[in-house]
């Protein structure tokens, strides 16, 4: 029987799959890239950011990484584009644009 997320390939048979879909390891949400659902995109304007730390805790997808008490750029693999960080920022340091208008 296959029990780890990476073993649940598109080829896994019903005889090998785990009952009820249980995955016998934690932290599997990280492996599922939800960023491609995004239609709106937050953009971090670093020069305006005061590192006030209001945005990281409101992100429902933990898509604002924090290191040494400072936020880094968005994790676009997991950001779904909900815009809560844009709403909460008091310094206009987060822009919120259509995904198709992003600068390549």
């Amino acid at each position: 029987m296959r029990g780890k997320a990476k073993e649940m390939t598109p080829e896994v048979t019903w005889q090998e799959i785990t009952p009820g879909g249980t995955i016998y390891e934690p932290g599997n949400a990280e492996g599922y890239k939800t960023g491609d659902w995004r239609s709106m995109r937050p953009v971090w304007i670093e020069e305006k950011c005061t590192q006030c730390m209001l945005c990281p805790p409101v992100c429902p997808d933990t898509a604002i990484p924090v290191k040494d008490s400072k936020r880094l750029d968005f994790d676009y693999d997991h950001c779904k584009g909900c815009g809560v960080c844009f709403k909460v920022c008091p310094f206009d340091a987060i822009d919120f644009i259509k995904e198709e208008d992003k600068e390549e």
Binding site: W14, G20, G21, T22, I23, E25, P26
Partner: protein, 393 residues
């Protein structure tokens, strides 16, 4: 030596639960099953069980709490009736799909509307496709025995499915009858300890339960779930054999009553089987070859075995204490006819709806059904196959 007692069906279930001493019971009161959590909460307050009793705010919450607790690794039980079962609906499917061996005592009551608190089978019959094993009980003794066996069936490694043990509201649940109970130690030994391979509170193996299951895998999971129901057939008989050794009481998929040489027979579920047996006795006294098949296990459905048991019958009436509004009959009728197709063709089969909303089912009603079967055998004419008995007009 077993213990002779006098208990109602609800008391019998509550006593079984005390003897099982589950880790968690989450329940919400609804007539006629209210007494089960009521008696059980007294056992909790008295310190007779070590169970965590969760007094929830609805049946949806009751089943949700059961799912959470069972996934955490706790042996979990609940009880409900009618609209309570209906309010659990979406969670019933989740419990079975997550392969959680929860046990539920369903005290059968008419599902509203019109608003009615009395017995029929519309509640559990509506849940027949929810992936739960369903065992039906004619008496308080059978309800007690079925619940003890349900724990073993549900938790078996080849099954891991929730089990619903049904009995008739008021008729069985509130009528006090003689019963033989097992000693507490024997029940404890019979049900054993719940030892799941994987559970949420196991700190040595963190797991994810109930994850998103998209088209690449969901189909395989449903097939695996279906296999568990297929496997349950064998396990139900194995557990019954072990139970028989312990108690002397024999359980199978169904009970045959004077069926082997019967020319006319009825298929029936739960307490009305008792009424029907007295009619069979009377007919037999008059030289009429009448028989009866009482279904105990409705899910999984013992199709091949039922076809085999009924193959020599000339005319058959399948009794349904629930409508399915298919305009051709009830749920038991559909299953039995489907079972007979290609295996026992040529039997003339009527499907009767009876006893809805707690309408008293008298011996006369059952005799009327057998009389119709006799007419069919005599004349060869079957007439309308979708019939009601006991309704005015």
């Amino acid at each position: 030596m077993s213990i002779r007692e006098r208990l109602s069906g609800n008391e019998a279930i509550a006593v079984a639960m005390r003897q099982i001493n589950p880790d968690v019971v989450a329940a919400f009161p609804i007539t006629p099953s209210t007494e089960i959590p009521q008696y059980f909460s007294q056992f909790v307050s008295n310190g007779q069980v070590q169970t965590e009793f969760v007094a929830v705010e609805s049946e949806h919450s009751a089943m949700s709490a059961c799912i959470g607790a069972q996934a955490a690794g706790a042996r979990t039980m609940t009880a409900t009736s009618a609209n309570g079962l209906a309010l659990m609906w979406e969670m019933l499917y989740i419990a079975s799909a997550m392969k959680l061996p929860i046990t539920l005592s369903c005290v059968n009551r008419a599902l509203s509307g019109p608003l009615n608190i009395h017995n029929d089978h519309s509640d559990s019959m509506g849940a027949r496709d929810s992936g739960w094993i369903q065992l039906y009980s004619e008496t308080n003794q059978e309800a007690y025995d079925n619940l003890l066996q349900a724990i073993r069936i549900a938790e078996h490694k080849d099954v891991q499915l929730p089990v619903m043990v049904c009995q008739d509201g008021f008729i069985t649940s509130h009528a006090v009858e003689n019963i033989e109970l097992l000693e507490d130690e024997k029940v404890k030994e019979f049900v054993g300890e719940y030892k799941p391979d994987h559970y949420l509170l196991n700190h040595k193996e963190p797991i994810a339960v109930g994850p998103l299951d998209l088209p690449a895998h969901c189909f395989e999971h449903k097939r695996e779930q279906a296999q568990s129901m297929i496997n349950a057939k064998k396990v139900i008989l194995e557990v019954a054999k072990e139970f028989e050794k312990l108690t002397g009481r024999k359980y199978e998929y169904f009970e045959k009553y004077n069926l082997d040489d019967a020319e006319i027979a009825i298929v029936i579920i739960n307490s009305s089987a008792g009424t029907a047996k007295t009619v069979v006795d009377k007919l037999r006294d008059n030289g009429i070859k009448a028989g009866l098949l009482k279904i105990r296990m409705f899910r999984p459905f013992p199709a091949d075995e039922i076809a085999e048991a009924l193959k020599n019958v000339k005319a058959l009436a399948v009794m349904d204490k629930a409508e399915s509004y298919s305009a051709i009959g009830g749920p038991v009728g559909a299953e039995v006819k489907s079972a007979l197709y290609g295996k026992a063709d040529g039997i003339k089969v009527l499907n009767y709806i009876y006893g809805l909303g707690g309408r008293d089912v008298r011996a006369d009603d059952i005799e009327e059904v057998y009389n119709s079967l006799m007419d069919i055998v005599k004349t060869g004419q079957i007439g309308e196959i979708y019939r009601y008995v006991g309704v005015r007009g």
